[in-house]
Symmetry: C2
Subunit: 224 residues, 2 copies
DNA sequence: TTGTGTTTCAAACGTATGTTTCAAACAATT
DNA sequence: AATTGTTTGAAACATACGTTTGAAACACAA
């Protein structure tokens, strides 16, 4: 039990520090200091700083992907034989995202910010790790989006998906700060559920924006 | 002439390395090595690494904001007495963004990625520097957005603005990587102008998505 | 040419990083 | 109680970083 305690303390501290400072800017001494454990414990339990970073992601991404797959199962069962509509797919994603950290008594902002960092900070090893571990769930989400927007070409859908991910990751990762700014400006408080309620229609409407024609787009094989 | 040459070589190298690796992951030795100048030259000409980072941003952000203000002037003159519509405001922003680096014979992706990093990487000194130098232009952009979406409540507009910034910063900052992924998947290349052409309708449509009614939203004073 | 202010250069400085070491403490089994 | 395998602890390691130094090279006016 002593081991699991040290491991968890390190993961807790690392999670928080990584989220608020980034990976390179967070030293192992900060982490072990905050966790109240010996410096060598990180290399003993995790092997290296890189492995620790991956472990932080695995601890919340694995249960999240499990929950998301289950939610997708329910969604597809409900709407069968039709594929689920765009807005319902987006809502399943965001509400699973919002529910997950609540069960673990943590702020969602931490996970969102970590997710954002995974995209932003170069960290080649992290990108490779995430791709090898969670590409299945991610691929399923992409497939659901595809079936919900059959009118889009593959290229259009790809970029609009990136816009969706960007708006989501950016907003939710800074949601605490943004909520506070709005409070100072207008005296209005926005709980995370309400942010999501604003976000989903925005994204759905953006995804279904009218297509623009381009010179070098082959209209013929838009089905790929 | 020798000075200005060294200064520019450092700025060129720093710009490129910062864009592809981030600030903390780029050492002064990498920069001076790539620039072909002595290590001490950075501290001699710029004083510190922080000042160098700010100088990199100032070199492209100052002319960009000048160009943007002029473009806003033209836009407001054209559409007077009506305020410019949402899509035209967004397009003026993005097209100025696309035109700027072309005049300096540089890849736009570098500046996009730098702009994204400015949001993402914490770097308190950079945020303070950008705010003190360029808040005027940013404020004007926000005011144009407000006048282009009079139907939105202040709270709605605030959050949708964040969605817009998030999708833009996220996508454009990773545009190279995302373009490469799409190339590997579909064999399609997307120049930056085309990404922007996809982005603008997405954002405009999202900003104008139909409003949802909330229980605790006061409908009466939506004009604040 | 001499003198003066500026710019370059190799080398070093002090500090912080990730990692390793090895002895001590601990937990559990025999 | 003795022995084993596991976990902690303080200290040191090697390396990389941003920055400073002081002498040499340079540009250019007097």
């Amino acid at each position: 039990m002593a081991q699991s305690d040290t491991v968890d303390r390190i993961l807790d501290a690392a999670e928080e520090l990584f989220a608020e400072r980034g990976f390179s800017e967070t030293s192992l001494r900060m982490i072990t200091g905050k966790a109240g454990v010996n410096l060598a414990a990180v290399n003993y339990h995790f092997g290296s700083k890189k492995s620790l970073i991956q472990a932080v992601f695995a601890r919340f991404l694995t249960p999240f992907c499990t929950a998301l797959e289950e939610a997708f199962d329910r969604l597809e069962a409900e709407s069968a034989p039709e594929p689920p509509c765009l807005e319902s797919v987006l809502r399943v994603l965001t509400s699973t995202l919002v529910e997950m950290p609540r069960q673990h008594d943590r702020s969602i902002a931490i996970y969102m910010r970590l997710q954002g960092l995974a995209y932003t900070q170069s960290q080649g090893h992290l990108r490779r790790f995430l791709e090898s571990e969670y590409s299945h769930t991610f691929g399923r989400f992409m497939r659901l989006l595809k079936n919900a927007t059959p009118e889009l070409s593959a290229v259009e859908r790809y970029w609009r998906n990136q816009f969706v991910l960007g708006a989501t990751a950016f907003t939710l990762s800074s949601s605490d700060a943004l909520t506070e700014i709005l409070w100072n400006k207008l005296g209005v408080d926005t709980p995370i559920e309400e942010i999501v309620d604003q976000l989903v229609p925005f994204l759905a409407s953006g995804m279904q924006a009218h297509t623009v024609a381009y010179g070098n787009t082959k209209e013929s094989d838009s089905g790929v």
